[in-house]
């Protein structure tokens, strides 16, 4: 009785179904166009292998950097008695809402050889980030790290601070408290944040092509290869798309416990 009362009316379910179709139809379309017979050949072509390799290297590198920098930042945002914390948090969120290509333009303004930081970097150390794999990694960190920071910060804030107080009263130093008390409790969030960050880094397009350029074998990651293969080598574009789709599904399956079973 009560269960049927809670059930949404049929019209709402119908609209919900339209929403589901909106997600499902493009994916079905993609799968319907893939030339499965040439899939292996397409994916083993030099261009595809290079793009796959670059994407793996850059996205894993970007994830490692995001974790290394993002964990301290998340801790600070969650626990430090910081003036302007909401400002810093907004700053961290900006890349999540900023069009990635604008992120690329911002990175250029800062890190190109004539940029704010890039100029001294090049003049003094001879370091150039544009058109390098490091540039691609930087672009990916810029757009993907917020996912890690936000996820982990929320977890730390949700963690009962009385455990930290208890650890401190027993003489544990702050490092020890973080490593032995907080971190084990928030590990699922750290893993989820890292996986989300990695997936976002893997899919990065706009900031990468703007900042790191499109050099085959050097900065041409999977999404760039997909976009550029779309004219002329459609089957390759579709094959690479399937790889990215498979990765996305893999991420969702990996995070299933976190997202799908909470309800």
């Amino acid at each position: 009785m009560s269960e049927s009362a809670r059930r949404p009316p049929p019209a709402v379910s119908a609209v919900g179904l339209v929403a589901v179709a909106l997600f499902a139809v493009p994916l079905a379309g993609l799968l319907s166009k893939v030339e499965w017979s040439t899939l292996v050949d397409d994916l083993s072509s030099a261009a595809a292998v290079d793009a796959l390799r670059l994407s793996l290297v850059s996205s894993i590198g970007a994830t490692a950097i995001s974790v290394g920098l993002g964990l301290p930042l998340a801790w600070v945002l969650a626990r430090a008695n910081l003036r302007g914390r909401s400002f810093v948090r907004s700053l961290v969120l900006v890349p999540m809402v900023l069009p990635p290509v604008v992120g690329g333009v911002a990175l250029l303004s800062a890190f190109s050889r004539t940029g704010l930081v890039g100029e001294p970097l090049y003049e003094w150390f001879g370091v150039q980030l544009t058109f390098t794999l490091w540039g691609a990694v930087l672009a990916e960190v810029f757009v993907a790290m917020p996912f890690f920071v936000i996820t982990v910060e929320a977890a730390i804030r949700g963690f009962d601070s009385r455990y930290e107080d208890a650890a401190a009263s027993l003489g544990a130093r702050r490092w020890v408290t973080f490593g032995r008390v907080i971190l084990p409790q928030i590990r699922p969030a750290v893993v989820a944040g890292a996986v989300l960050t990695w997936a976002r880094a893997l899919g990065e397009f706009g900031a990468t092509i703007t900042f790191a350029g499109n050099i085959a074998g050097r900065t041409q990651t999977l999404p760039l290869a997909v976009y550029l293969a779309l004219e002329g080598r459609t089957s390759l574009a579709l094959a690479l798309s399937v790889v990215l789709l498979a990765v996305s599904l893999g991420v969702i399956v990996a995070l299933r416990d976190r997202w799908l079973q909470r309800a």
Binding site: V105, S109, T114, F131, T210, N214, I215, G217, T219, E231
Partner: protein
């Protein structure tokens, strides 16, 4: 990076992000009055209205934007919306059913694809020609004087092979026997992106059309490629058969190939067909 080139890049980014958001306001009411006014002042130009989408090569961005404004001024009932990208991208889009009323390509190959597929209304007409040029940083700090220098210059920006400017650049380089190492070539998805890699980023040099090299928003210097080594790009234009506004589309093609169109194009540095 100067504010102006940054603004241009941002504007380009916005264009990419917002495809074809033309003004949809139905101007049928105002058309009567303006057409009446026009009939009183000018000699009976056929009364046109509707919205047309013109898919044009990226190298035509400035001149076609200008022509679009002139065309709209002449035909107040017509709204012209542009879709600028590499001719390869545009041809692929039109082949997969993207709405377009007019196609202006930077090569005959991509136009030929549409002609072969039976997508054109009538034959394509060549309305302009273009040549290639090397672009370098202002003041040419890398000292690039000829195609040969590109082999050892550093990062060189070329268009993707599927864009006409990339195809012509590859032709010109291989004819001159210049080989740039693959890991030194960044490929722009169209000529504007290729130019921007030199103007706004750290590519040492690039190969673009002379019209782009001389364009107002090019923060670069031009190094000419001698005629003997250069390529000549033919720009054909045609109305698309599937157009819902065939008369307005035909009128735009006529406008571009006519006196007003040719004036704007030669001012932008295009050669006469």
């Amino acid at each position: 990076m100067t504010p102006r080139s940054l603004a241009a890049l941002l504007a380009a980014a916005t264009l990419v992000a917002l495809p074809a958001c033309g003004d949809d306001t139905d101007s049928s009411e105002s058309t009567d009055t303006t057409a009446a006014a026009e009939a009183a002042t000018t000699t009976a130009a056929p009364e046109l209205d509707g919205e047309i989408v013109v898919s044009a090569a990226a190298s035509l961005t400035e001149s076609f934007t200008e022509l679009g404004e002139q065309f709209e001024a002449e035909h107040p009932g017509v709204t012209v919306t542009f879709n600028f990208d590499s001719s390869g991208t545009l041809a692929t889009q039109i082949q997969s059913g993207a709405p377009a009323d007019v196609f202006a390509s930077a090569d005959t190959t991509n136009m030929g694809k549409l002609a072969d597929a039976g997508l054109l209304a009538g034959d394509a007409v060549t309305f302009a020609r273009n040549r290639l040029a090397i672009v370098v940083k202002p003041g040419n700090p890398a000292g690039i004087d000829e195609l040969d220098d590109l082999a050892t210059a550093g990062i060189v920006s070329l268009c993707v092979e599927t864009a006409p400017c990339g195809k012509y650049a590859d032709q010109v380089l291989s004819a001159a026997g210049v080989v740039i190492p693959a890991d030194k070539v960044t490929r722009g998805q169209n000529v504007k992106a290729t130019l921007s890699a030199v103007a706004d980023s750290d590519a040492v040099a690039g190969i673009v059309y002379t019209t782009d090299a001389q364009g107002a928003d090019a923060d670069t210097d031009e190094v000419e490629i001698p005629d003997a080594d250069n390529a000549l790009a033919d720009y054909p234009i045609a109305a698309i058969k599937a157009s819902a506004e065939p008369e307005a589309a035909a009128a735009f093609v006529e406008f571009v190939t006519g006196e007003a169109g040719q004036k704007v194009l030669s001012e932008a540095g295009f050669l006469q067909p």
